[in-house]
Subunit: 204 residues, 2 copies
Amino acid sequence: MKYSSQLIEQAVQAFSKLPGVGRKSALRMVLHLVQNDRLAVNDIIDSLTIMNSDLKTCKRCFNFSDHELCEICRNSSRNQQVVCVVESIRDVIAIEETDQFHGTYHVLGGVISPIDGVGPSDLNFEALFNRVKDEGVGELIMGLSPTIEGETTIFYISKKLRESNVKISILARGISFGGELEYADGLTLGRSILTRTSYVHLED
Amino acid sequence: MKYSSQLIEQAVQAFSKLPGVGRKSALRMVLHLVQNDRLAVNDIIDSLTIMNSDLKTCKRCFNFSDHELCEICRNSSRNQQVVCVVESIRDVIAIEETDQFHGTYHVLGGVISPIDGVGPSDLNFEALFNRVKDEGVGELIMGLSPTIEGETTIFYISKKLRESNVKISILARGISFGGELEYADGLTLGRSILTRTSYVHLED
C-alpha cells in the first residue's frame, strides 16, 4: 500500500473501475476531491445514491427515465408515430444532441450477435413489435451501426415486420462530413458513388 | 436537458467536476455505472462517504492518514532522522513508488509563489522548523520541483535553518533517463556537463 491511507486506497480502487480510468487517474480524482473540493464529494455521493434508488427504465422505449414513461415518450410535441430503433441509450443521447430528430425511440439493449451469444430473445424486440402493432407506428428508422451485427438486426426486424404496413428506413450511408476522401474505406466510397445525390446549390 | 432523466443529468454534472473529466467522459462513467455495475456505484458511495468523514491529516508530516500519525511516521523501520520536504501528497506517492527512499516526509502544502499570493505563512514551515529543532533531524532532502517557486522555497528553508546543524540536500539534477540529448534544454545540459560524475563500470 503506497498511499499511507487505507481510505484513499479504497476510494482509488472504486474509481479505477470506471471506464477509461486507471489507477493514476483515479488517484488524481480522489486527491482532487479530498484536497480541493469536499462539496463535490457530497455531490457525487448524493447524485449516485438517488440515481441508484430512483432511476427507472421507460416501460415503453427502455430509455432511462425518472418516471414510468421517459420525457421523450411523454412529450406530446414529438411524433409518436416515428420510432428510431437504437442499440443503447448512448445512441439516444447522440441522436438527441443533433436536434434533427423529433420522433420517439426504442432501445433494443444490444444487437443480435451470435458470437457474443446475444440472440433475439435477449433484446427488447417483443415490446417493439407490440408497439408497431398497437400504437399505429408509421415509420421505424433503424438507427443501428452499419456493422454485421447491426445489419443482421435490421434484417431480423424487417423480416418480422414484413406483414405489417410499417415503413422501415435506415440512416444514410456515405462519406462523413469533414472526412478525407483518400482515407475513406473502399466499401463506403464505392457505395457513395453508386448512391450519389443531385447537388443542390444553397442560396446565400 | 438531453438525457431524458434529471437524475442522470445530476450525476453527469457531479462527475464532470473531476479533473480531466468533461461531460462526455462523465456521461460514459455514469452510464457504465448504471448499466453494468451497480455494485461499483455502492463502492464509490461507501468509499467517498467514509473518506469524507474519517480521513485525517498526519499531525506531524501533513500526509493523509487514517490515524493521528500516518503509516510512514509510525513505521519504526523508516529513518525518522531523514526528512524529505515535498510540495504535495502527490509527490509523497511518486517518491514512495520508486521504493528508493526510506526516511519520512514533510508536506508543505505548496511552494512559495508571490504571483499566486502564496507566502511562507500559508505553508507548513513552522511545523517543519519545529521538527528539525525537536526531533533531531539530521538531513532535509528538498524534494521540490526545479522551478523558480521551488528554488525560492529551498532558499527560504535553507536561510531559516542556517543556524541549525541540519544537512540540506537537493535532488540530483541532470539529463533524464531515457531522454534524448538533443532535446534536453540548454540549462540542464550545460549544468550536467559542469556537474559530470565519474563513470562506474557495473560488474555483470
